[in-house]
Symmetry: C2
Subunit: 389 residues, 2 copies
């Protein structure tokens, strides 16, 4: 099992540089690290100074790199699907379609990228996987997928299997679902809650929710817009149950760094460092209680100062937990920083409690003692939503 790290923040704040430095830091500690980029954008290869391909390749000691190529991942999944189809359907539908023909539709990058991370994790070859994704809402949709898809299955399974449509297509849908999720259901029935698809989603949910297994870090510069975006992504990450372990303040793009370089006397140098300290203080208070690591600008190929400035990523569990369920007190506490009271919506339309904030909607899967109980009260204070049953 690997530690999976990712970085969230506004574009241009140096997320990819931070991801590379993080991968290098972990590799230098003797961990076997996979640095994984999303898509074929040349930016990561340019910053890394090595061209990455769709299969992992050695970058330096303990460090391998890969760039997910969705069209190719789709081709591989398609071949799996065809094998399963041949096995399960008397008259296969898709056998005449080649994986090399398939175009990429919205959502496929995320679904196939997540599946690739899962497979690299399961292979046991890496102690850490550093995922350099889009770093925005798209990355959160991807990491939120196991929980949200579990909910869709939970909510629709009974409605579906008791419907005319469900009864009709149930013999057909099993192999298809299996293949998309890359799992062999064997003779399991669609209605059985213990099937492998659910196991897989549960494993994904557990990994996202466990800061010893997965964590995100925010990347920001001193720019107010970048800070606002990072705060928004902080709250949005909590909404999918992902722990945010800390903040990395990238000094590279802070104008004061340039000013310090061109300063002509010691007085000017002091002034610029004072300004930098002020920015650091303000970022520290914006993101309290998270720890803020200040990362210097990179000069040439020397990554050492950046690696040294980064936090110890194994400490992510010390950050506030996105959700805490206190059964004796009959309370659920959600940490939702970056939102004000008006931006957080709590509803109980269906059988579960739904929280909406930051264009993320989360259905809280409650333990049996609280499940199905009406909400008695809710308050939002100090970024915590406390729900009482």
């Amino acid at each position: 099992m690997s530690l999976i790290l990712t970085f969230l923040g506004k574009g241009g704040t140096g997320r990819t540089t931070v991801a590379i430095a993080a991968a290098k830091q972990l590799a230098s500690q003797g961990k076997r690290v996979l640095l994984a980029g999303q898509g074929s954008d040349p930016a990561m290869s340019a910053i890394l100074g090595a061209t990455l391909g769709p299969d992992p390749q050695e970058i330096s000691t303990n460090l391998q790199g890969v760039q997910f190529h969705t069209a190719q991942l789709l081709e591989r999944s398609w071949e799996e699907l065809k094998k399963l189809e041949a096995q399960y359907l008397r008259t296969p539908i898709v056998k005449e379609v080649f994986g090399q023909e398939l175009g990429v539709l919205p959502g496929m990058d995320s679904a196939l990228g997540l599946n690739a991370i899962r497979e690299y994790d399961a292979a046991g070859k890496y102690d850490a996987i550093v995922y350099d994704g889009t770093g925005d809402q798209t990355t959160l949709r991807m990491l939120g997928m196991p929980e949200i898809l579990s909910w869709y299955i939970r909510r629709f399974r009974n409605l579906f299997i008791n419907s005319d449509l469900g009864k009709t297509i149930s013999p057909f849908i099993q192999p298809v679902t299996s293949a998309v999720l890359n799992v062999n259901w064997g003779e399991d029935n669609f209605a059985q809650p213990t099937n492998q698809v659910n196991n897989l989603l549960d494993q994904g949910k557990d990994a996202v929710a466990n800061p010893h297994r997965m964590a995100a870090y925010l990347v920001s510069t001193g720019d107010p817009v970048a800070i606002a975006t990072a705060k928004y992504l902080w709250g949005s990450a909590q909404q999918i149950g992902l722990t945010v372990g800390g903040v990395i303040l990238n000094q590279a793009t802070m104008p004061d760094t340039t000013a310090a370089e061109t300063a002509q006397n010691l007085e000017q140098v002091y002034q610029t460092f004072d300004r930098e300290a002020a920015v650091t203080d303000s970022v520290t208070s914006e993101f309290a209680p998270l720890a803020v690591s200040v990362m210097p600008a990179r000069s040439g190929g020397n990554w050492q100062p950046l690696m040294a400035a980064l936090p110890d990523f194994r400490q992510a569990y010390r950050a506030p937990k996105p959700i805490e369920i206190d059964i004796p007190a009959r309370q659920v506490r959600l940490f939702l920083p970056g939102f004000d009271k008006k931006q957080v919506k709590l509803t109980q339309y269906g059988p579960e409690v739904t929280i909406e904030a930051g264009d993320q909607r989360r259905n809280i899967f409650l333990p049996p003692q609280l499940s199905g109980q009406p909400v008695k009260g809710a308050k939002f204070q100090n970024s915590y939503l406390t729900i009482s049953f």
Copy 2:
């Protein structure tokens, strides 16, 4: 029918600023403009200086703004689906599920965002829609969806309707498909090629392919990584058939601008302007034959110099066409800038010709005279792939 504009480029190059300036420019010319942001990220509201919501609101004369909120768009589509389900299915499946419960899965942002643009376009209230999306591959997946989904339907329809599964579920699938694509099929048969879903996708394809209806512009700074990403997105946009009308070189983040401001004598000022001119020349040659517009930094609330620096967006059709089909010469010419020969793959596995480049795979829908013909030759020269039949 509106002119739909979007901006592509690396994060942090000022895409959102350019989108706002473009919307203001068009509004100042008397056009009724909708500025549409994707998601609830606070960056656009912060740069615009006005808080945008999920419904269009007045920003200034002729200019309205909206921010697509996927969770809410999903709720609305769900209500449509429930109405259709009640109409078509004897035993409705989803009527007990509330739109307010539904979480957002990968791909929904794009699918629902595209549908929202389509609806605002069809409403006839706007002469131009400026879409400030993620500006990367995700935006291209979204705009490529009509063509790629058309291909999936074209390729799978016959395989599907002749299959056991197809025969079995055909009575069920019509209303569901209809609702997702927000169309009433009426009594049409799934096999009829002239149904409304296809019409809708064809309209989408036609809009994306028509530079009088839709165009993208690249945004870059002088930074080599930003230039590499913009070139990659240029080629990738051609791959989905979207015309790239030109390049906007954002001077705001060019270090020389700061240097010019702090220069202490005329000689230094001249030097910084020389360096800026050199960057502009190099960008112009990288993106030839596209026109490069140099956009100055914004000072405070004065958008006028930015608006004046932007190109005339109605001229996008002058840029090279992504695809040209010459029936008498039996040739197809694809413009694929930013890729070298090794990065472009041409295959003919299925009934159509497939081009793969930049993690985009495109099946070329050929006119009857060339359709189904074997490829006789192909050459890649000066960024053009010429295929002979």
